[in-house]
C-alpha cells in the first residue's frame, strides 16, 4: 500500500466536458480516475434503449473515452471506476473489450458490479409486500401503475472495492453513488473495515467534493472574477491517506483554483440536514469537517466524523408522467416588457378559445425575472426580453396544439418580435423521479472480473 493515493474525478455528470478525463489521465500523476455518467433521468433513457436493443443501455461516451485513453491507462497502470454501465454493465464491458482488441491490447481486466437494477424484480417484490413508498410524500408505488421505466438501487462502495481486490483495472457499475466511486479505492487500498465509520465518512466527503467535477476547483464559484484560466480548468484530485485525511488539489499547469472557499462551496452543494448525510456506506456529520490551506491549490480536509449506516438503500425509480413543451420569442424594445406580457396573454387566450387547457402552465421573462423573480425591481425600459411560455399535460395533443400558437405572434401580435427560427416546440415526455427506500437484505450485488 502506498500513501497517499491520488484519485481524480473527470466527469461530474452526463454531458460534462469530454476532454476533462483525458487531461486527468495524461496531465500529471494520478492513480485512480472516477467518472460519473448517471443522473436519474439517464437511467430511464438507458432502460428504453435496452428494450429496443439488448446490447445498449450504457454510457457510450465512456467507450469513446476508453478508445482514446486505454493505451495511457495501461501504460501508467491507472485504474478507472465509472458508473458508465447504466442498466447494462455487461454490454458496456463487451464494448470496451472490443475496443481493446481493435487496439491490440492484452492483459486488461474489467470488473462489473451488478445487482442495482431491480426493475424486473419489482412485480415480485410488490406481491411479497415490499413497500416502495415515495420517500417524501408516502404515496404507494402502485399509484404509478404501468408507468415505471427503471428502478435502481444506490449500492454501497464495497462491491467496487471487491472488484479492485480481484485485480480489475477498469470497473463499470450501474447505479453506484457518486461519492462511492471515490470511497471504494480507499477501502481497497487502505483495508478500511465496513464499520470504520469516521474513515468511511471521510472518504465519502472526499467523494462528495469530487463528484461534480470542476465545481470544487473554481467552477460555479461566487467570486468568479478571481478564477484564473477557466478555459483550461483543472478537475479535482484528492490525495488520500489511510488515516482518513486528504488534500484536495488539481494537476499543475491547469486553470481554476483550489482554495478553502472553492472547496466549501462544493461541500454545501445539494446539502440537506448537515448532521445526517446518509449514504449506503455511512452516515456523515458535515458539521465535523475541518479544512486548512496547505500551499497553493491545496486544501487539507480532516476531522470528519461518521456513524453507522442505515438498514436501507435508496432506490431511484423513474416513471412516465405526461408531456411538456416550451417555446420562446425575443421581443425588442421600445416597451419590450409590456409587449412581452401582452404576447403571453394573447397566447394563453387563443389556446383557451381553442378549447385547449393544461395541467400546468408557466410564463417567464428571460432577461428580467425568470431566475430571481422581483428581488431586484424590473426596469421600466429594457432593450429586449425573451418570453418563454411552457405547458404540461398528460395529453400530448394539447401540447402539439400549444406548439402551433407561438410563431404566429411574429405577424399577428405586437411589433418587433423575432427569434422563432427553431421551429415549433415539440412535446417531450416527462420522466419523473420517485425516490424510495428498500431493506438492504433484499438487494444482492455481484462482482465479476474478466480479462481480454
Amino acid at each position: 500500500m502506498q500513501e497517499p493515493i491520488l484519485i481524480g474525478n473527470g466527469q461530474g455528470f452526463w454531458g460534462d466536458s469530454i476532454d476533462a478525463p483525458k487531461k486527468l489521465i495524461e496531465g500529471g500523476p494520478i492513480h485512480y480516475v472516477t467518472l460519473d455518467y448517471l443522473a436519474e433521468v439517464t437511467m430511464s433513457i438507458m432502460q428504453r434503449q435496452k428494450l429496443h436493443d439488448p446490447q445498449r443501455g450504457y454510457a457510450t461516451d465512456f467507450v469513446q473515452l476508453m478508445k482514446d485513453t486505454l493505451p495511457s491507462i495501461l501504460d501508467k497502470n491507472i485504474k478507472v471506476i465509472a458508473n458508465a454501465g447504466g442498466v447494462n454493465p455487461k454490454a458496456c464491458r463487451e464494448a470496451i473489450f472490443t475496443v481493446a482488441r481493435e487496439l491490440g491490447l492484452t492483459g486488461l481486466k474489467i470488473g462489473i458490479v451488478e445487482g442495482d437494477d431491480i426493475v424486473e424484480q419489482l412485480p415480485a417484490m410488490m406481491t411479497k409486500g415490499v413497500e416502495l413508498n415515495h420517500m417524501e410524500t408516502g404515496e404507494p408505488l402502485t399509484s404509478l401503475k404501468d408507468n415505471v421505466l427503471s428502478a435502481n438501487v444506490y449500492i454501497s462502495s464495497l462491491p467496487i472495492a471487491e472488484a479492485l481486490a480481484q485485480g480489475a483495472q477498469v470497473i463499470i457499475t450501474g447505479r453506484a453513488t457518486d461519492p462511492g466511486l471515490v470511497l471504494a479505492p480507499m477501502i481497497y487500498e487502505f483495508g478500511w473495515k465496513k464499520d470504520e465509520w469516521d474513515k468511511l465518512a471521510a472518504g465519502t466527503i472526499a467523494g462528495h467534493i469530487l463528484e461534480c467535477g470542476a465545481q470544487a476547483t473554481g467552477g460555479n464559484f461566487t467570486r468568479w472574477w478571481e478564477v484564473p484560466d477557466f478555459a483550461n480548468i483543472g478537475y479535482p484530485i484528492v490525495e488520500a491517506k489511510s488515516d482518513g485525511t486528504f488534500v484536495v488539489t488539481k494537476h499543475p499547469g491547469t486553470g481554476g483554483m483550489v482554495t478553502k472557499d472553492t472547496v466549501i462551496e462544493q461541500i454545501v452543494y445539494e446539502m440537506g440536514d448537515p448532521e445526517n448525510y446518509i449514504s449506503p456506506d455511512v452516515k456523515v456529520d458535515f458539521t465535523t469537517i475541518q479544512l486548512e490551506e496547505d500551499g497553493e491549490n491545496r486544501v487539507k480536509v480532516f476531522g470528519v466524523k461518521g456513524s453507522p449506516a442505515t438498514d436501507s438503500y435508496k432506490v431511484s425509480i423513474s416513471y412516465r408522467d405526461g408531456f411538456k413543451a416550451s417555446g420562446t420569442l425575443t421581443i425588442s424594445g421600445p416597451d419590450a416588457y409590456a409587449k412581452a406580457q401582452k404576447c403571453g396573454e394573447i397566447i394563453w387566450q387563443r389556446l383557451q378559445d381553442a378549447g385547449c387547457t393544461f395541467e400546468d402552465t408557466n410564463t417567464e421573462y428571460l432577461g428580467l425575472s425568470s431566475s430571481h423573480g422581483e428581488i431586484n425591481p424590473i426596469p421600466q425600459q429594457v432593450n429586449e426580453v425573451v418570453l418563454r411560455v411552457s405547458a404540461r399535460d398528460s395529453n400530448q395533443k394539447n401540447l402539439l396544439r400549444f406548439g402551433k400558437e407561438i410563431a404566429p405572434l411574429v405577424t399577428n401580435g405586437p411589433p418587433g418580435i423575432t427569434g422563432f427560427a427553431g421551429g415549433r416546440p415539440k412535446p417531450q415526455e416527462i420522466v419523473a423521479y420517485w425516490p424510495a427506500l428498500i431493506d438492504k437484505n433484499l438487494v444482492k450485488t455481484s462482482v465479476t472480473v474478466e480479462e481480454v
Binding site: E40, V41, E136, Q215, N220, F221, T222, R223, W225, D261, I264, E265, Q266, I267, V268, Y269, E270, M271, G272, D273, P274, E275, F286, T287, T288, I289, Q290, L291, D321, K324, S326, D360, T361, N362, E364, L366, S370, S371, H372, G373, E374, I375, N376, R388, S390, A391, R392, I430, V431, A432, Y433, P435
Partner: protein, 116 residues
Amino acid sequence: MQRILLRQIAHARSGDKGDSSNVGLIAENEAAYEIIRKEVATENVKKHFKGIVKGEVDRYELPNLLCLNFILHDSLGGGGSESLRNDAQGKTHGQALLLMEIEVPDDLPVQPIKIF
C-alpha cells in the same frame, strides 16, 4: 450602521433536492458569520424569495464552515423534469440570496461591489 448586500460578506452555492432547493451561505470570516447567523433568519429568506419559494424555509448551522444551509421548500415548480421553469434546479438561488440587503455595523469589513 451601514446597509450592504450579502454578497459583500458571503459566498453562496445552490442546488436541488426534489422540489426544494438548498442554498449554502458561507461567511467570509467569523465576524461575518455572526452577522449572518443573526440577520439571515428563515422568515427573511422566505420574504426575499417572494414568488419563488412557495413553501417553508429550513435553516441549519455549520459553524465549522462558517456556513448556514437553507432549504427552500416548494421552490422549483415541481422540480426535476416536471418543472416548467427555466431554472428547474435552483442553480440561480445562491446568487439570488446574495442580493439580500442587510444592516451591519459600520466597522464590519465588507467587500466593495466590483463593477465590470
